[in-house]
């Protein structure tokens, strides 16, 4: 637990360093508007990272989140085309439900049909995106613009509560619930056990299949929610919204200290990872780094985080071995 707290502290420190350096170069970076934008830009990625972290903790992965987000965003547009006065809550629930259905498909294939998550979600990444395009082409709707959406919906996506953007508030709520559930409730703890040792989890009487299934549904539902938020924030959507987002999400989770082979990490770390990567992306142009380096920097952060994890893990393991209990070795 202390190691995890250390990891989150580490991200915060790097974050502070990046923000400080950037602010020195351009004081506007830390203006009220600048901070507002940072939170706003990282909210959706962080939301997806929470769902992804829950899955990665169980030694699974969901590569289809970008496509699910796209599908749900497109659904929002379609709903407003059907009825411009659609209440915001209905669109939200519809998006979440659609995402959850996608999660059910992934979860069933992984938990029931026992296909590895990497393969399943790589497949559904393309299938869900394909459905998105097919839907667009069948209805002849290739883009939905902001003027077709209800003002309430756009206000919801761009509004703020006190100082925080609405999107950030929603992400924080989800994050809080998820963090608490993973810490304090039995199913949450069992997710860690599953990722730590799947066979032992089964032998310990943990319903492994059911838990993994639910984790996929949660990840899908959050991606669905993310799609609606995306639509309400940007106002303009097409069938390719969210393409490639899955990689940013996985990167955030790994940078946030969730072990890619499961068993350890926190959703708070994952969300901080998303904030850090977004901040770096925003800081690069200010620091004079050409935009085309952004991807490389993301990748470098990822590799650095993984190497760091490896080093820390070896050290911790060595320390724990030395700390054998009383009455350990005999002769």
């Amino acid at each position: 637990m202390r190691a995890l707290a250390g990891r989150e502290l580490g991200i915060v420190l790097v974050l502070v360093a990046v923000v400080t350096v950037t602010t020195v170069v351009n004081p506007n970076f830390l203006s009220r508007q600048g901070v507002h934008d940072l939170f706003l830009n990282s909210s959706i990625i962080a939301l997806l990272a929470v769902g992804q972290a829950i899955l990665v903790i169980t030694r699974n992965i969901d590569l289809s989140v970008g496509s699910v987000l796209g599908l749900s965003a497109f659904l929002s547009g379609q709903l407003y085309l059907a009825d411009r006065d659609m209440p915001v809550i209905v669109v939200l629930l519809a998006g979440i439900a659609l995402g959850a259905v996608c999660g059910v498909v992934n979860g069933a294939l992984v938990a029931v049909a026992k296909v590895p998550a990497l393969v399943v979600t790589l497949g559904t990444l393309y299938v869900f995106r394909g459905l998105d395009y097919a839907w667009a082409s069948a209805t002849g709707v290739h883009q939905v613009n902001a003027d077709r959406m209800s003002p309430d919906f756009l206000a919801f996506g761009n509004g703020s509560l006190l100082f925080l953007p609405n999107l950030t508030v929603i992400t924080l709520l989800v994050l809080g619930v998820a963090a608490y559930a993973l810490r304090a409730f039995r199913p949450g703890r069992e997710l860690y056990a599953i990722g730590s040792n799947p066979d032992a989890a089964r032998l310990s009487g943990i319903p492994v299949g059911r838990r993994v299934f639910v984790a996929f549904v949660i990840s899908g539902a959050l991606a669905g929610l993310g799609g609606v938020l995306h639509a309400s924030y940007f106002g303009t959507i097409n069938a390719s919204v969210g393409s490639g987002r899955e990689l940013a999400v996985v990167a955030a989770v790994v940078v946030g200290g969730v072990a890619i082979f499961g068993g350890s990490g926190t959703v708070v770390g994952a969300a901080l990872g998303a904030l850090l990567l977004t901040t770096i992306t925003s800081a690069l142009p200010i620091l004079g780094v050409p935009a085309f380096w952004q991807r490389a920097v993301d990748g470098a952060a990822l590799l650095l985080a993984i190497s760091l994890d490896r080093v820390v893990m070896l050290r911790v393991a060595a320390r724990l071995r030395r700390r054998t209990s009383v009455g350990g070795a005999g002769g």
Partner: protein
């Protein structure tokens, strides 16, 4: 008195292999019951059936006199069954306390209560493990303590201990026995599995012996002659099991000096001469296989020298080892020795592809001829060489692995658990093969957990304990007692 748990006429098959035939077994409250038998006799299958991991094909499991069907390990645990595995596989990332309670926590986890209760249980077991530390890095003995604490926390009444002492020192084993006796006195029924007769006599009240999946006898241990028990397990005299051979060792073929790898093994020195079989004995986890892997170069080493035929091998280079005439048949043939998707012939020719290729192109006919030669010489029973290697029985798979390496005419052969999980007939054939090889001048280093095999096959026995060599015994000095004493670090 009614048994807490009873197996009646239980049978179980895996494919064509009949693992259990008509096994009956009754566990009474307050009783410590031994389950004895050779490897492959069906003990593990009994454990899995009692633990709810597998369902019997035939026969019934009775709990308190009522027939039950366990719908998985979870169900068995809910009904009061706990299995302590030989090498407990716990959750390295979770805390010790959480390892005790995971899978059975209340919906709302009470962390403080869980920690307190775990500390109490560890205290009661006489092992003060810090409940907050992660399970990663705990010794096997401590991990077993966690498993036992788990059983206690669940109020288990039927506790199965599957070779719990295999990796324990004498002191740790004694601690475990105290706990086991305490459990039995409180009215639990224990099923205790061990290869060590001393332990069975020390701890248990009754014994059930299995042989080749069938029950041989169930009786009181008091008054049961030790030799009679061994005979009932083996089914024949031990002497008859192993090929008699005369060894005239030649010059040193494999020499190892001061081989060390931090935290795994230290200062290992041994010599195997031409024509000699040296047994490398020790408990599970004593570092035997790791030494073999380091000699062969699959793993690196921190210090030490390995010489084959007088030539020093570079560290961490298996290809150089093969060129120098070293061959290794690994412990787990499915994981390391064979490529299950490939055919028998492809598996057999894998390390020798160069010799069956022309300009880098593999000649199928030569590949087949090579495979044919070796499968014939080793007497592999197969239908077609092109069949997947997994269609063979365990013993025949093992022969393919052997043949695969023998085709290279090695000067030194390292075999790790050469007869694990294969039936008694195939065992004899493998033993015969190893003897012939030694007779033809090959130096053989044989790692084995089966004492009779070590004693029956080896010219010399090198014993390891916790990564160090604790004894080197000549054939005449090597007895079950002397090897076990060295393997448990001399503490007993």
């Amino acid at each position: 008195m009614e048994p807490l748990l009873e197996l009646r006429g239980v049978s179980k098959s895996f494919g064509a292999v009949r693992a259990l035939r008509d096994v009956s077994l009754a566990l009474y409250p307050g009783e410590v019951h031994a389950l004895a038998g050779e490897n492959g006799a069906g003990k593990s299958t009994v454990v899995r059936i009692i633990g709810g991991e597998q369902e019997p094909d035939d026969g019934e499991v009775r709990l308190d006199g009522t027939p039950v069907r366990f719908g998985g390990p979870r169900d068995a645990q809910h009904r009061g069954v706990a299995v302590i595995h030989q090498e407990p596989s716990r959750f390295p990332d979770l805390s010790a306390a959480e390892n005790v309670f995971i899978g059975r926590q209340p919906f709302r986890v009470d962390r403080a209560g869980m920690r307190r209760r775990a500390a109490e249980l560890f205290g009661a077991l006489g092992v003060p493990i810090d409940p907050d530390r992660p399970a990663r890095g705990l010794s096997i003995a401590d991990q077993q303590v966690i498993e036992i604490a788990r059983a206690l926390a669940a109020d288990a009444r039927i506790i199965v201990m599957d070779e719990p002492t295999a990796a324990l020192s004498g002191m740790e084993a004694q601690r475990l026995f105290r706990v086991a006796r305490g459990l039995a006195e409180n009215g639990s029924a224990l099923l205790f599995i061990s290869h060590r007769l001393d332990e069975i006599y020390e701890l248990c009240h009754r014994v059930t012996v299995l042989r080749d999946g069938a029950p041989v006898t169930t009786r009181e241990l008091a008054g049961l002659d030790r030799d009679a028990l061994v005979r009932s397990m083996v089914g024949r005299e031990i002497e008859q099991l192993f090929p008699g051979r005369r060894s005239e060792p030649g010059e040193a073929a494999l020499e190892v000096f001061g081989l060390s790898r931090a935290g795994v093994f230290e200062d290992i020195s041994l010599t195997v001469r031409r024509g000699e079989i040296v047994g490398l004995a020790g408990l599970v986890g004593s570092g035997r296989s790791e030494v073999a892997r380091a000699i062969f170069g699959v793993d690196g080493r921190d210090r030490g020298v390995v010489r084959v035929g007088g030539r020093t091998l570079p560290a961490g280079d298996p290809r150089a080892a093969i060129r120098a005439g070293l061959a290794m048949v690994p412990e787990d043939r499915r994981e390391q020795g064979l490529i299950p998707e490939l055919s028998i012939e492809r598996n057999a020719s894998l390390p020798r592809l160069r010799s069956v290729s022309t300009f880098g192109i593999v000649r199928r006919s030569r590949e087949r001829a090579l495979a044919r030669t070796w499968t014939d010489r080793l007497g592999v029973r197969l239908r077609r060489l092109a069949d997947p290697v997994t269609t063979l029985s365990g013993g025949n798979q093992q022969k393919v692995v052997l043949g695969k390496w023998l085709a290279g005419d090695p000067a030194v052969l390292i075999v790790d658990e050469p007869t694990r999980g294969i039936d008694i007939g195939a065992k004899r054939e493998v033993h015969g093969l190893l003897s012939e090889l030694a007779a033809s001048g090959v130096a053989v280093l044989m790692i084995s957990s089966e004492l009779p095999e070590v004693l029956g096959m080896s010219d010399r026995v090198v014993v390891m304990h916790e990564g160090r060599i604790t004894a080197e015994l000549d054939r005449s000095a090597a007895t079950e007692e002397s090897v076990l004493r060295a393997a448990t670090g001399g503490a007993s």
